[in-house]
């Protein structure tokens, strides 16, 4: 037994004193008032100071967390200029040229000042302001860019792409010919942050109630007693209100589902619109958003989460977040209609006697004529409402190109458009118009229809169609080899269920061999959405030589993250969870983004290359729920990971 060697090694595993000093300094920086002004502020508002301190420390922690995730920290920068970082004296300007590492840090740090969805021009300006070189834009014919703009930091290049003039992706690559890597994962902080998240929806609902008031007593009267009250802050679930000492409302903060921290509530959260789509509307018509736009957007947002035959209670719940008042209910043959007022427009829900959603329409406030939104194609059959021939032509044109992927293939079917811009073509059919939207000038990303009555462009989506129920085909999963917990969902649609978990399981149970083929053969067009899940992230995994080894899509069902992962690497690799050509369907759960991609998973299905299911062990919902990882109460992840291994990982 030779313990001495370990003691000797331990003595060498000691951090530099500078690391300790820097850690203490970081802690002090966020514990002490920085200047006389803030000291006065602390004296005047002690409780407020405490809260701000909390926010500051939280921001620090988040920054460090992000730094850790991407291997970038202040300390990394410190290596480039150690004496500057460690010295407590005021920093001197450092004119030394940056090392590659310095440029890399600078590029990544700058990228993290951006937020997906922000105005694209502002994003570029931000990067330039933070030390980036002059940007190059894709509009410049001299440059053959694969994105919409690039900003260089030394030998590192940030590639930015936009959609409807909003920042859509940020990638980084090494010049001259490195591969580009997604730098900021697809996380949306605004409307998309809300999708499928009950807690956030409820928080928004509370805000919609509370925003009419300005004082603590009024808000407490409206919302009831807070779940938690501390000093000048009242917390209701995932929203909290901060008050001045005299009781006036200072601001409201919402807990970010993805990032797991509190941030100020923003207009975007309330507008709950797909800005990408409606910014296009503004771009075409130069219209400012008015009340009608606002309320139509709100209505459309609500309808995005509805589908025919969904439980009426679920649809009502969705509407309750947007509508300030109770609906007007009218009886009609076979059920009821409920009219929700959203200000400039109304949403009308048709509910059957069996408490299922029948249809959803939008109408101008007070108007008797509604615009059928869902379901669109079979409107005439269902409701006897006759639209014009132009409308039928427009729909027919849409159907004829609905599977086209490029501008060229659309034009091959429909001919030359009446209006053509870089990001869209518009076809006219009498009084009706069909818009085809493109990304990167050619790839079809969506279809829109202009509604003359409402003077508004609506997105045409398969979501709103009422296609005949899919006929069972040969590839329909048999349920053989399914884990026990999945079997009850075979043959049921996700719309039959009320909970995120059940909907997810139903979607998983209904994945077919044909779906597997699409995943491998046409990854880009694979399920967006599949069933009721929302596509959160879609990416290829690449090796150093540029070859792709895997394809991944993430779908969100409330707090559950469904991952569909396919191995496309022909080189055998026993370390990977499934073999070449196999599809692994698993569920994982992000406690919050503070845990980054740390997410143990539980396998739900493995579909083999020939489309049959491989055996997967069963487990329970409770076990999946335990995947949540909470840093405040550290638990070892390998406890769940061990279990995952036994589930066939």
């Amino acid at each position: 037994m030779n313990r001495d060697i370990f003691r000797s090694m331990c003595s060498q595993l000691t951090p530099d004193e500078s690391l300790l000093q820097r850690t203490l300094q970081l802690a002090e920086e966020h514990d002490e008032p920085k200047d006389e002004e803030s000291e006065q502020a602390v004296r005047a508002e002690p409780v407020l100071k405490k809260r701000r301190l909390g926010v500051a420390v939280a921001v620090l922690a988040l920054a460090l967390g992000v730094g850790a995730v991407f291997g970038i920290t202040r300390l990394n920068r410190k290596e480039a200029a150690p004496e500057q970082a460690l010295d407590k004296a005021p920093a001197q300007p450092d004119d030394r040229p940056l090392t590659d590492e310095g440029y890399f840090n600078k590029a990544v740090d700058a990228a993290y000042q951006l937020e997906l969805g922000m105005p694209f021009g502002q994003a570029v300006d931000t990067l330039v302001g933070l030390g980036g070189e002059d940007p190059l834009f894709a509009d410049d014919p001299a440059d053959d860019l694969i994105c919409d703009a690039v900003v260089d930091f030394g030998k590192y290049r940030l590639l930015l792409s936009e959609q409807s003039d909003r920042l859509n992706t940020v990638e980084i690559m090494q010049l001259p010919d490195g591969m580009a890597f997604e730098l900021i994962p697809v996380t949306y902080y605004t409307a998309r942050d809300l999708v499928g998240c009950r807690e956030t929806d409820e928080a928004i609902g509370k805000w919609l109630t509370a925003r009419k008031y300005t004082t603590r007593s009024e808000i407490t009267a409206a919302l009831g007693a807070p779940e938690k009250s501390s000093g000048l802050t009242d917390t209701y679930g995932w929203i909290r209100f901060n008050y001045f000492e005299d009781g006036r409302l200072e601001n409201a903060e919402i807990r970010s589902q993805l990032l797991g921290y509190w941030r100020l509530l923003r207009d975007e959260d309330i507008q709950i619109v797909d800005d990408e789509v409606y910014a296009e509307n503004d771009a075409i018509f130069g219209e400012e958003k008015n009340e009608l736009d606002y309320s139509i957007n709100s209505a459309m947002y609500c309808l995005r989460f509805m589908s025919p035959d969904m439980p009426a209670a679920e649809a009502r719940k969705i509407m309750a977040f947007a509508a300030a008042e109770k609906p007007k209910v009218k009886s009609r043959s076979g059920g009821t209609t409920e009219t929700y007022s959203l200000g400039g427009c109304d949403v009308i829900l048709g509910i059957t006697d069996t408490e299922k959603l029948w249809y959803a329409d939008i109408s101008k406030a007070g108007s008797d004529t509604s615009t059928p939104i869902m379901p669109l194609p079979s409107q005439k059959e269902l409701f006897g409402m006759d639209r014009s021939d132009d409308y039928t032509d427009m729909l027919g044109a849409w159907y004829s190109v609905i599977d086209c992927r490029t501008r060229e293939s659309v034009r091959a079917v429909l001919g030359e458009p009446q209006v053509s811009k870089r990001t869209y073509d518009v076809y006219s059919f009498g009084n009706e118009k069909l818009m085809v939207r493109f990304a990167f000038e050619s790839k079809v990303v969506g279809f829109m229809h202009y509604d003359r009555q409402l003077d508004h462009w609506f997105e045409l989506s398969k979501r709103y169609t009422t296609e005949a129920p899919a006929q069972p085909d040969d590839t329909e999963p048999s349920g053989d080899n399914f884990p026990e917990m999945l079997k009850p969902y075979v043959g049921h649609r996700s719309s039959e269920y009320d909970t995120d978990f059940d909907r997810m399981m139903a979607d998983v149970a209904n994945l077919t061999a044909a779906d597997r083929d699409v995943f491998f053969d046409d990854f880009e067009s694979f399920g967006d959405p599949i069933g009721s899940g929302l596509l959160i992230s879609s990416f290829y995994g690449a090796k150093n030589d540029g070859t792709v080894h895997s394809q991944t899509k993430y779908y969100r069902y409330g707090p559950y993250m469904l991952r569909i992962w396919g191995n496309v690497d022909e080189e055998p690799n026993e370390e990977l969870p499934v073999k070449y050509g196999q599809l692994l369907v698993s569920v994982e759960r992000w406690g919050n983004l503070d845990t980054g991609w740390v997410a143990p998973y539980v396998s739900l299905r493995i579909i083999s290359e020939d489309g049959t299911d491989l055996p997967v062990e069963s487990h329970t919902k409770e076990e999946i729920d335990e995947l949540a990882y909470i840093i405040e109460d550290p638990k070892l992840l390998d406890q769940v990971q061990d279990r995952n291994e036994s589930f066939g990982r």
Partner: protein, 165 residues
């Protein structure tokens, strides 16, 4: 500076457990910068959360668990799992020992799977008992013994020495 329940300042806690946190992170991570990140974050988390620990053993357990979790987060981060590192990343190799023998032992340790590596580190380097290791890792003592046993076998095979008994 905020004080803990045990009236230990952050500085005191860092002095007392710097080796534990730093060494454990060294055994889990491959890059010195990442080790430094984790080291900082562990103590900043401690500072921020001021965990209520009944005694020093509980505090050490908290620090070990937090260190392990943060190391896993780092290892499984988008950066480490999806970005191929440049070849010169080795310049930041985490640790160099004074003798070749020590380097080989540590290298062999790091080649173990995490489920074996951690108990070995805690048992041999931190000189924790099986019971303490089990408590810190949240597993049974039998599991610790089993992992140690398997780890010893793997290490013996690799090192052809009797460091780990």
């Amino acid at each position: 500076m905020r004080e803990t329940e045990n009236s230990m300042s952050l500085g005191e806690v860092m002095q007392r457990y710097k080796q534990t946190v730093y060494g454990l992170a060294m055994s889990q991570l491959w890059n010195r910068n990442e080790v430094w990140d984790v080291f900082q974050e562990v103590f900043l988390t401690y500072f921020r959360k001021a965990p209520q620990c009944e005694n020093e053993q509980a505090l050490r357990a908290w620090l070990v668990r937090t260190t392990l979790n943060l190391c896993r987060r780092s290892n499984k981060s988008s950066w480490n799992t999806r970005v191929e590192k440049q070849e010169n990343a080795g310049e930041n190799e985490a640790v160099e020992f004074s003798t070749r023998e020590e380097s080989e032992v540590f290298s062999a340790l790091r080649e173990l799977k995490e489920k074996y590596r951690v108990p070995v580190y805690l048992f041999y380097f931190e000189e924790m008992t099986v019971a303490q290791t089990a408590e810190v890792l949240g597993i049974s003592q039998a599991a610790v013994k089993m992992r140690l046993s398997r780890a010893r076998r793997l290490l013996k095979k690799r090192l052809e020495g009797d460091y780990f008994e």
